[in-house]
Each structure stands twice: as C-alpha cells, then as structure tokens.
C-alpha cells in the first residue's frame, strides 16, 4: 500500500467526518440558514426590478451563487487553518505519519462539501420563488456543478495560503473579510461591472470571483442575456482559462506555504497561541 495515497484516503475520510460533524452542528446549520434567508429576502424584495430586460433575481442569483462559493472557499480554509494551527489540530496531524497530507486532503474535501448545503438551501427555494430559474434544465445545473468545482479549485488554495500566513483567528477580520468585501462589491454581482471605472474592471477580471459569477450566469441565463456582459459574450474559454490558471498556481504554491507553516509547528508554539487566546478572552 502506497503510504501517500493511503494518507490521502484517510484524509478524505477525515474530511467526510468533518462534514457530517458540521451538519450536526447548530452553529453551522444556523449559518447556512442565515445566509439563505438573507439572500432569498434580498432577491424577493427586488423581484420586480429588471436587469437589462430580465427579472433582477434571475440575473443576480447565479452571480450570488458564484460569489458564495468563492466566499466559502476563501474564508472556510482560512478559518480552519488559523484556528487549527492554534488549537493543536495541525500539530496532531504533523505527529502522525502522512498526517499533513491527510489534513490537506481532508480540508479540501470538507470545504468542497461545505458548499453543498449552502447551494441547496438557496437554490431549492429559488426554484419555486423565481420562475425563470425553474425553466433551466438538468444540463444547466450540471454545468453549474462543474463551474462550482472549478471555482472551488481556484479559490480554495488562496484561502489556505492566506490562512497560513495570518497570525491567529483574530486577524481574519482584517485579512480575510476586507479583501472579500472589496471583491464582492466590484465583481458585477450587485450591479454590472461595466458601470465601474476601467482600472477597477481590469483588476476585477484578474480575480476569480467575477469569473465564477459569469460562469454561473452563462449556465443559468438564456443565451441572449450574454449581450449584457462585457464584450457581449459569456467568454467561456476566458472563464475556464482564468479559473484554471488560479487553480494550477494555487495548487502549486499552497503545499509549499503549508509545509513552511508545518515546519514551524511545535508544542510550545501551540502553547504560546493558547496563552495569547486566553489573554484575548480576558
């Protein structure tokens, strides 16, 4: 039995257990429901608006799906890493053979699975509330899943890298949320990206969030809605290219950064983190 593939297998079952633990956690369920209700309420209140000739919810929902996937894939591993480095989870992984490999595999699976409940609690009610979405067929939803997977691969490593670099969970607000809010605000989710300044448009098109939203719209909107996009097209290849590039670069860099973090782990480092956290609580 190959030790590395074995470690990955054990790590995947670890990820699955994390996922089932999460489904039993009132906190996590509360988070899903809160986000879903917020999203649905926002769409419902704006249901009579119109976006380039289409009902507002049907255009915005795909974008929001894309953004939520990006959000979860960015914040999720960041939180996990920042917390689990401090509470000793990562050190435990380091103390067993193949543990770090397993940890990363588990995290990847857990964060991917973690996107599912969020999608379900938003998409299922939407099908009943907003007619346009219900007209889309199975193929469209399969494409949604495909793009979601690609988007996760593109964003997960970024979350892992940032999570490895920030010191402690209390820094997540600064380094995690701020960039995310800026990215969300400018990614053409709440209003068309064309209305922003040119240089902002340029930056937005380098980041994965915009492309995830575009991909979701391309799957869920009628073909002629492409006219409302930049360049009047869904730019499928560009989307796959940009997301793919992020995924490849991230998957190359993330292990290097994680190894660096792992090297520095020790019992006394965890103890110091615990000490700091205790002081925060006081």
């Amino acid at each position: 039995m190959n030790p590395t593939t074995h470690a990955i297998r054990v790590g995947l079952s670890r990820g699955w257990i994390e996922f089932t633990n999460s489904l039993r956690s009132p906190q996590d369920i509360g988070f899903y429901v809160f986000v879903a209700l917020g999203t649905l309420l926002y769409l419902f209140l704006n249901r009579h608006d119109d976006w380039s000739g289409l009902p507002y919810p049907s255009v915005v929902l795909p974008s929001i799906l894309g953004a939520l996937i990006a959000f979860g894939a960015y914040i999720g591993p960041m939180y996990s890493l920042a917390i689990e480095r401090e509470d000793g989870t990562l050190l435990r992984a380091k103390a067993v053979p193949g543990g770090m490999t397993g940890y990363v595999a588990g995290q990847a699976l857990f964060q991917c699975l973690g996107a599912l409940p969020l999608l379900v609690v938003i998409v299922v009610p939407s099908l009943f509330l907003f007619e346009v979405l219900a007209e889309r067929g199975t193929v469209a939803w399969l494409i949604v899943i495909g793009i979601a997977a690609l988007g996760l691969l593109a964003v997960l490593p970024i979350g892992m890298i940032v999570g490895s670099l920030i010191k402690g969970p209390n820094k997540i607000g600064t380094w995690g949320m701020l960039p995310m809010i800026v990215m969300f605000g400018t990614s053409g989710i709440f209003y068309p990206v064309q209305e922003l300044w040119g240089w902002v448009q340029a930056i937005v098109q380098v980041l994965p969030v915009y492309w995830l939203g575009l991909g979701m719209r391309s799957a869920l909107l009628p073909a002629d809605a492409a006219a409302a996009e930049l360049g009047g097209s869904w730019r499928i290849w560009e989307m796959v290219g940009v997301l793919g590039l992020w995924a490849v670069v991230g998957l190359v860099i993330a292990p290097v950064v994680l190894r660096r973090v792992a090297r520095r782990l020790s019992g006394s480092a965890v103890e110091a983190g615990r000490h700091e956290a205790m002081q925060r609580l006081q």
Partner: protein
C-alpha cells in the same frame, strides 16, 4: 553508557540550542536504551520542552548530534514518524469529534507501517479500554473532563504502537486515581511492548515511581543522570533515624542506619518506641541539585554525578 548500539534508542551528544543570545541548552548528553523509562526533571525554563521537541523532530537544534531510533530527527521521514509517539498538551482541537471516531481515523495513518513484529495501529476498542475511556467512547470530545481529555491525548500518542514515546507533563491535571492508572499504563508499555519512554514531569513522586533513570536538566546541561536511588545516595548517604524513649523524642543522622538501630535496641531494648528511618527522597536530591546549580556552583553539581555515568546499573 553512551555507546550507540543496537539497543540505543536515543543518543544525544553535545546538544546545544540558542534562541538569539539566550543559550537554553549548553551541551546536553544522554542516551536511552530500548524499553527504558527516562524521566526528565528540571526547573521551569531549564529546556526540558526544547529538548523533547528537538528529539520529536519539531524543532531544529543549533548544534550537536542527535540520533533517535537511529535517525537524525531533522531528517526523519514518515516511516520514522510512525515509530514514534507524541503525547501533546492538547487544548481544544477536534472538539466536535467523538472519541472513538478520532482514534480510529488517526490510527489508520499507521496501517502502511505495520510489521509482523509490531502490528499497527492498536485495536481502537482495546486502546479505549486501556486508557479507561469506555464510557466516553461515543462522547463528543468537547464534553470530556480535563483528566479524560488527557487520557485521550495519551491514547492518541500510543495508537500507532510506538517504539519510542514522548510525554511532556502527561499527568498535569490528573486526579490521584487517574494518575495511578496512568502509571500502570506506562509500566505496561515499557514492560510488555518494550516501548522506550521519555517523559517530563514536575511530580517527583511520580518520577521516583516511573523512572528507570532520572535526568535532571539545569542551566542547559544534564546535572544528574542515574536511577532515583543512585541519585539520592549520591547527594547524601545519611538517613534520619527518629525514635522516642520515655516520652522524649530523638533524631539522629547516620550513614549506617541498620547498625545504629541495632545498637540502639541493644542499649535500650523495649524502651524504644515510634521508630522511623527516613532516607533522603528524590525531592531532597532534586532540591539540592537545583539549589547547588542556581547558587553558582553548577560544576560541583555536575561533577558529583560524573561517577554515576560509569556506575553498575
């Protein structure tokens, strides 16, 4: 005693560790043989944890030679890792997991490293029984008490049936009962499994009970290395004899308590009551060693025990 051979599990020579300008370890030497239980004592800040972390491969040393299971820990791969066990001072990790689920999952990492001589990992249920967590097997880890949590840490440390086990203050927070059970477990591991154990503690009574050999680390060096018995005898061979006669209490310090007591009885016979002979404890020794070191005569302290290195253990 520091001859690296087949049975040498740990061999440390002239280990040095410097943080900035602060020299924490200033040339540490010791070794451990298979199945030995080594207890590392020393005041806070003496470098016990640093030493253990270097041996665990979690920390890079500044200088010196270290061999653990025949490998330099810095180079230790996953195969080497599988032969060691580390009991961490855990805190709140895996709070949402259940005891059994976590042990089973962590245990699986050791499967590729199972050998005919040493099958890995332990059977989870047996392990849970060994550490006395039967009733908590399906409990969420966040619901465990401090002592139960610590027992889980020990279980995780030995789930891969390590040949060498590191324990950094394993019994902190244990009640007397849990402590006794833990001691039994340590004996069982070293006797039946031939597990070499290196542990740190502040509990000198515990050190006396568990240690085949005690190391005292002070001022960045090992200032004492020998069995608890050897150490105490080396600091003082005198015993305190207490008795009472006609309601009066007496104390006498003597190097030969047996002869003294025999003479005492020959002289006073039945009048002697409340007889008590007390030898120096490891605690006395420890205090004397650390005091000698801290009062600025560290070399005296170290020299006093050089002879122990060659003693006939």
């Amino acid at each position: 005693m520091t001859h690296a051979g087949e049975d040498t599990v740990i061999d440390v020579r002239d280990l040095r560790m410097t943080y900035g300008t602060n020299e924490v370890l200033a040339g540490v030497d010791f070794s451990a043989r298979r199945g030995e239980v080594l207890v590392l004592l020393g005041p806070n800040g003496a470098g016990k944890t640093t030493t253990i972390e270097i041996l665990e491969g979690f920390r890079k040393r500044s200088a010196g030679q270290v061999s653990v299971l025949g490998v330099d820990p810095v180079m230790g791969g996953e195969g080497w890792r599988a032969r060691t066990g580390v009991v961490l001072q855990s805190w709140r990790d895996h709070a949402r997991w259940k005891v059994r689920t976590l042990l089973a999952n962590l245990g699986r990492y050791y499967e590729p490293y199972s050998t005919p001589k040493r099958s890995r990992p332990y059977d989870v249920d047996k392990l849970i029984e060994m550490v006395g967590l039967n009733e908590q097997a399906t409990a969420k880890i966040s619901t465990l008490s401090g002592g139960q949590r610590r027992r889980l840490d020990v279980a995780i440390g030995i789930v891969g049936r390590p040949e060498l086990l590191f324990l950094d203050e394993p019994t902190a927070g244990f009640d007397p009962h849990a402590r006794r059970e833990f001691h039994d477990l340590v004996h069982r591991l070293s006797d039946l499994e031939e597990t070499t154990i290196l542990l740190t503690t502040h509990d000198l009574d515990e050190a006396e009970k568990l240690a085949d050999r005690v190391l005292i680390l002070a001022g960045g060096r090992i200032v004492a290395d020998g069995s608890a018995d050897e150490l105490t005898r080396n600091v003082t061979r005198e015993a305190q004899v207490r008795w009472s006669r006609n309601g009066q209490r007496y104390v006498h310090a003597t190097a030969d308590a047996t002869t003294f007591v025999r003479e005492l009885f020959a002289q006073h016979g039945d009048e002697i009551a409340d007889l008590e002979i007390q030898r120096a404890t490891l605690e006395d020794t420890y205090m004397a060693m650390v005091h000698r070191h801290e009062s600025g005569h560290p070399d005296d302290a170290a020299d006093a025990f050089v002879s122990l290195e060659a003693s006939d253990r």
